[in-house]
Symmetry: C3
């Protein structure tokens, strides 16, 4: 079985931005652009969605985990996705990005097997908002969670506009979704977004054996149980996703957003 | 009034598996199979539902409390319900059990008066899942909460597949509903399933006076207020209940479940 | 800009029961009947709703905050609204009060910009229940939260019968909505009703700079983001509001309520 794991992780695999392994029912998808803090390029959006489809299709996969290579979990949308676009191409870029994001988020809404995040470091933007759809989120105490939408002239995605108020109430969700509040792992646990927090040194040694045990459970009971928990919301979540992406397509070409992103890159110079 | 309480609790009452008393507006239903950790037999399912109907019908009953005799609150479904069934009777047994469970859970969905659990010790399975429909859950610090559905090849009931994610989010509910996590009373309070935790020695002396006070409140305000809190969900909860029971009817005759239950009894030998 | 603030706060403004200022995008509505613990008279219901309309219409207003003058945040419905009513006018009074309340609550459901409460002291009744619709609730550690509906023969309003169970679960919401439990600011934070608690001495110095910063964010991103978080619930909330107010119109003329209010005034003598 070690041989099999090695096989799956060996060079020549189909993803440029991800590492994917599968052993004894546990599939691990590692975001693998550590030098870029695992920022999500267009390629990574597509590969991540494809990796979830692969997990769905593989009968040997029981539990799927997402984690990040290096110190970051994921720094969110790679803002270089917005660079070097000619003014006349802006509108089309926004529509393309809308469809890309909608498909990406839909792959989480529809993912039928248990999905767990192992948040090894800071998480930003869409990598945070989609966590509300995961079945468990285990976080290092060095992880932080930041969704700076209005600071960038944007608006929420990942169905967070629906799921965050559901679990936190409007009174707490709005700090994250409207007011750009960055929270610690312990605060995110209080908010119901994180399942459990581990000391950074213990995260790997504590979480993986737990997930290996989950992966030995009967897959039909897991899939059917997850389906029960989602049955009343699937349609709602797809509608929310569409509305969020439509709004972002408008935001991305707005002065609010264009100015904020220009300021971001000017600060980096 | 003490005389009346004695009258209600005296031998000759109509239930074999429950003790029922009613005094000054406070009705107490005690699960009374302490030698079996108050495991729920077919008879107890029916008697518990009947006792709720009686509470609804009695104009003197304002608040109804559920508690367990002995050290356990309730060890869940009595697995002997699954024993000594001939292979050719399995399918019918599953359909009968589905109907039994659906009616039992429906009696909680529709119960119109305040309903409080006094969780005196460990709670397992359906005795945990239905707690999400109670108006308050007061627990001993020796209580634990365990819903080992997938470990037994089964799936959630008691509308927990809807109510647990509603109050905890998917990220926390799935640990209980998919991954068999047993939680302490304090953890269950953090999750929103338990209202308040008491030191085991103080549970009885603290909780009953509180419930006696609640039972003096105007019953119409309580009933109308509870109806307001449930109005948007009644139909949803009945649909969820039906879907959960339908899935269990399939699970109970699956290899996953049959093997898990055989292993359970073999371990006990 | 100080001049502008002074202008807005100067005497001669249009409200008798409120102070309203607006500076650099931050509008502050202060409940201003400190000698009556900011109890809400009929006039204040109407002025508060009008002040929200004014905030909506003013293009310079980005964030709106509500706070109370003096030691109280708000002691809820002024029970003198129920006084000196002739028996033959009771029914009409109840219908008028129903419409007044429904319009008041609707102005919070529909308010499109970020809305924040700065709870400087005790909060009672409808001033508590509407908090579930706010985008943030910052509270002094001297604040308390009390909704004594059934003790007064009444029932919940402010959409709390829907929003409180959504964020707390039935098991915790019912203590507030059915059983008259008064909670501290820290308890209200645990319940998800309060966003953050500040030492009373630090409340003013900590909260206002935070809100001034929020008021500099791009208003379109805030308004569109808030709209996304509310889109699935607007219709539901208006239905809940109507059902709650209809029930209260019945409660206000009930013996339960009339007796409770008579007892209240007798105790005060």
């Amino acid at each position: 079985e070690e041989a099999e794991a090695t096989t799956h992780a060996e060079p020549g695999q189909k993803y440029n931005t991800l590492l994917v392994t599968c052993e004894d029912g546990l599939r691990v998808i590692t975001l693998n652009r550590p030098s870029k803090k695992n920022a999500i390029t267009k390629e990574m959006y597509n590969e991540w969605a494809a990796a979830l489809e692969e997990a769905t299709a593989d009968p040997k996969t029981v539990v799927t985990a997402i984690t990040g290579a290096g110190d970051y979990y994921c720094s969110g949308n790679d803002l270089s996705n917005f660079m070097n676009i000619k003014p006349e191409d802006m509108q089309q870029m926004a529509l393309d990005a809308r469809d890309l994001l909608k498909n990406f988020v839909a792959s989480f809404i529809d993912f039928p097997k248990p999905l767990v995040a192992v948040v090894n470091g800071p998480a930003v933007g869409v990598s945070v908002t989609i966590l509300g759809m995961f079945d468990a989120v285990y976080a290092s105490d060095k992880a932080t969670f930041n969704t700076p939408f209005s600071a960038l002239g944007q608006s929420p995605e990942g169905c967070s506009s629906y799921i965050f108020p559901k679990i936190m109430g409007y009174t707490r969700a709005s700090e994250l979704l409207l007011f750009n509040k960055k929270v610690t792992a312990h605060q995110a646990k209080e908010l119901g977004l994180v399942t459990e927090v581990f000391p950074n040194d213990a995260l790997q040694s504590e979480v993986w054996p737990k997930l290996q045990a989950y992966a030995k459970l009967p897959v039909k009971s897991l899939v059917y149980s997850k389906a029960l928990t989602r049955q009343t919301e699937l349609e709602t979540l797809h509608k929310i996703n569409a509305a969020e992406c439509e709004r972002l397509a408008e935001r991305w070409v707005s002065d609010d957003c264009v100015n904020a992103i220009m300021n971001f890159f000017n600060r980096k110079k």
